[in-house]
């Protein structure tokens, strides 16, 4: 991998290769078909198609044990009723709110935290790669495992409270997962623990693109480490941070696994419901697949809207010449 042409905005395509119209376009089209074909078939067949069916289901009132025949029953077709119902149900609106709270918290807390840690880990430390490894471990764990571990650590008489007491912070013990007023914060702390490794890794990768010569030159000029980071490193990290923010937002909107396995159903229903958990609860456990499908579609629309808006306004510069270019 050459490095000379890669300082600058990340994720840019760079100059387009000179046109080589020496091949016949027919052969080119065949090559494209062969190369993208398998992935496309698998993707359309097993992702697009089921989701399309889910959209169809969302316009019907379907019972728990429904079959294909129900889709042919005109009485069951209710148009947008499922959507209206979802958008006027307080629990679902609260779930949407929870998702956006987590989005906000992630951007405001996890982002700076990850940047700080990545900057620290970018310094010359002994055993640096070991530390990076350890911090990434939570990301590699299965959600089921992580949920199990935290469920054992967080009860009133569990490990976390025991630890707090042993260092004299006994006043801060709480019923972390059972108290609805702090459950969302507890959940966010657990999410940070689990997913920050990925953010740190991403930012570390971005830091590799910041030339050392710049920092060294500034250091020679007498700048402190912190000033160097603030004025030189961080601005160059811009594109990386923006990509992380994008993935983080989408992940926060679709949050399901950690919430489902860690928080008890009651506390979840009161304090930490997300769009996805609400969807599974209603669609599967309350026996309303049509309603659940409508919620899934709403979830998709919200994710897509956020993604498109973000791409348009935040990522546009970074992606110039990549996704949004026209002549290519």
């Amino acid at each position: 991998m050459t490095s000379s042409a890669t300082v600058g905005p990340a994720v840019s395509a760079g100059p387009t290769p000179a046109r080589r119209r020496t091949r016949s376009s027919a052969r080119k089209r065949v090559e494209i078909a062969i190369f993208t074909g398998p992935a496309l078939i698998v993707f359309i067949g097993f992702v697009i198609l089921p989701v399309a069916f889910a959209v169809v289901y969302s316009f019907f009132n379907l019972p728990a044990g429904f079959r294909w025949e129900h889709l042919a029953d005109p009485d069951r077709f209710i148009g947008f009723d499922n959507y209206l119902r979802a958008l006027t149900t307080p629990e679902f609106l609260k779930a949407i709110g929870n998702n956006f709270i987590i989005v906000g918290l992630s951007l405001v807390i996890q982002g700076p935290l990850a940047i700080l840690i990545a900057l620290l880990l970018n310094r010359k430390l002994r055993g640096r790669s070991v530390y990076r490894l350890l911090i990434f471990v939570p990301y590699v764990l299965a959600e089921v495992v992580a949920g199990l571990a935290w469920k054992l650590l967080l009860p009133p008489n569990g490990g976390v409270n025991a630890l707090l007491e042993s260092v004299g912070l006994g006043a801060f013990t709480a019923n972390w997962l059972a108290d609805p007023s702090i459950a969302l914060w507890t959940l966010f702390a657990i999410l940070t623990w689990k997913y920050i490794g990925f953010a740190i890794l991403l930012i570390l990768a971005g830091l590799q693109g910041v030339p050392e010569e710049l920092s060294e030159a500034a250091a020679i000029d007498g700048a402190s480490w912190w000033r160097i980071q603030w004025h030189i490193t961080l601005p160059l990290l811009g594109p990386t941070i923006r990509i992380w923010a994008f993935l983080s937002m989408i992940g926060a909107l679709q949050l399901f696994d950690m919430v489902w396995v860690t928080v008890s159903p009651s506390v979840r229903g009161i304090a930490t419901e997300t769009m996805a958990t609400y969807m599974i609860q209603q669609g599967q456990f309350a026996g309303q697949p049509g309603y659940g499908s409508a919620i899934a579609v709403i979830l998709f629309v919200i994710s897509l809207t956020v993604a498109l808006l973000y791409q348009r306004f935040a990522l546009r510069r970074d992606l110039q010449g990549a996704i949004t270019d026209r002549g290519n």
Binding site: N61, P63, A64, G65, F66, R67, R85, E91, P155, P156, N157, N175, L177, A178, D179, P180, A183, S264, P265, S266, V267, G269, I270, Q281, Q282, Q284, F285, A286, G287, Q288, Y291
Partner: protein
């Protein structure tokens, strides 16, 4: 270019390995995919029949009992294979069975829940009608067959049925100076106060899982509502009777006496020593309102894995002056049914499971109260005997309300009750939710 050739060879090796693995997976896929669900299409000439049997026994002594019964059936019926699998209850009831039925590929013999679910399944034609196939079996379980009948026809047979009551720690009661078990609500409130005064957590409730807390509301509804109101609710989802709201009022009053453990909203019902069952089993709470399976569950949560010796049982106390029938009780059970596409051997297997000998095994294992009268005598646990007695003395057994009303209304009802308990809902809200949910059906 030497390194690139090496790299491309490495890439080639990787590709080949991937292809080999994929091929291996395909082989496995072929082996496994061939089984599928019921095999009613097997050639009759070869007399090779496979019956798939799904149940919810994954812990305790029960899985071994079912396994033994399956093997004996196989031995007695050459050519028949019984594949029984135990699944976690929630997964089975909410995900696996509904999906299998919806896809048209259900197991042959599976757990059938009474009330709303069996009505739905019959309406969709998923279940085999059993009256003509195993009439003796049906007769042997007496009145408990009723919840598994729809329109007068039988579609499932219960193997266990019992009523709910208080499982309590006799030693802690003594410690708090409670001399006799409460028979009225006032006496229960007294007991709660005495336990608090003695520094003991009075009642453990697994509100984390929603339904254990909801059962409190069901009991208050049962004691406030006439039988007609209950049946009206079950049959037509009509909840106009003020008794439904009164249930919530009574529950609020009861909660105001501070009877539950701290952080009860996060406590699970059965998992681990921190669950409500675990708290009682290990002496950290005095009592729990729970169904007849609780002794078995508690037995698994003690350090020595036996049912605590201090365990006692008493039925839910009466509420003098309330409109409900004082001899009515809340209860439920588990049963099996055959899918409509299952081979006839499925009904035979069901009859075999329900035979007195096998039901005695069930009873002796302490897994629950058998429905077959002949097997009740094999009950060893004194508390289960008390429960069986309470069942026998009931004039009317109302199914757990969330089971009775089906998943949609039941789920909405439970959510409303949890809101009430956590202080963010009103008694009227619960009824409104139930009505709204019923309107979507």
């Amino acid at each position: 270019m030497h390194s690139s050739r090496k790299n491309s060879r490495r890439a080639g090796v990787r590709l080949a390995a991937g292809a080999a693995i994929a091929a291996g997976a395909l082989v496995l896929a072929g082996c496994a995919g061939g089984g599928g669900g019921g095999t009613a299409t097997d050639a009759p000439a070869a007399e090779q029949v496979t019956i798939t049997w799904w149940h919810n026994a994954t812990s305790g002594p029960l899985p071994a009992v079912w396994q033994e019964i399956a093997e004996e059936f196989e031995a007695a019926h050459p050519g028949v294979t019984v594949e029984q699998t135990g699944y976690q209850n929630e997964d089975l009831q909410r995900t696996l069975i509904p999906n299998a039925l919806a896809a048209g590929d259900p197991p042959d013999l599976f757990q059938v829940w009474p009330g709303g679910e069996i009505r739905d399944q019959v309406a969709n034609g998923y279940l085999m009608q059993l009256d003509d196939l195993i009439p003796d079996t049906i007769a042997s379980v007496g009145g408990s067959i009723a919840p598994w009948q729809v329109g007068g026809k039988t579609y499932g047979v219960p193997f266990t049925f019992g009523i709910e009551g208080f499982w309590y720690n006799t030693e802690l009661f003594e410690q708090a100076g409670i001399t006799s078990t409460p028979t009225t609500l006032d006496q229960l409130n007294d007991a709660v106060a005495k336990l608090r005064a003695a520094g003991i957590t009075p009642i453990a409730v697994g509100a984390g899982d929603k339904w254990p807390a909801a059962h409190w509301w069901y009991q208050f509804a049962l004691h406030n509502c006439s039988i007609e109101a209950l049946q009206e609710g079950a049959a037509d989802f009509v909840f106009d009777d003020p008794c439904w709201v009164q249930a919530g009022v009574d529950l609020q009053d009861f909660i105001a006496t501070n009877p539950f453990q701290d952080g009860f909203l996060g406590t699970p019902a059965q998992q681990g020593a921190g669950s409500s069952a675990g708290l009682v089993a290990n002496g950290q709470a005095a009592m729990e309102l729970m169904g007849h399976w609780n002794a078995g569950v508690m037995g698994g949560l003690t350090p020595d894995e036996t049912v605590p010796a201090f365990l006692g049982w008493f039925p839910f106390p009466a509420i003098p002056g309330s409109a409900g029938d004082p001899t009515a009780t809340l209860g439920g059970g588990d049963g099996f049914g055959c899918s409509a596409t299952a081979p006839p051997e499925c009904a035979e297997l069901l009859a075999f499971i329900m035979s007195p000998e096998n039901q005695k095994k069930f009873a002796a294992s302490g897994s629950g109260i058998p429905t077959v009268a002949a097997a009740v005598g094999s009950l060893e646990d004194p508390n289960l005997k008390l429960v069986a007695e309470g069942l026998a003395n009931s004039s009317y057994v109302q199914l757990w309300l969330d089971t009775e009303f089906g998943t949609t209304v039941g789920n909405a009802m439970n959510d409303g009750i949890i809101n009430l308990i956590s202080g963010s809902g009103t008694p009227e809200d619960i009824v409104k939710r139930m009505q709204d949910a019923a309107a979507t059906l």
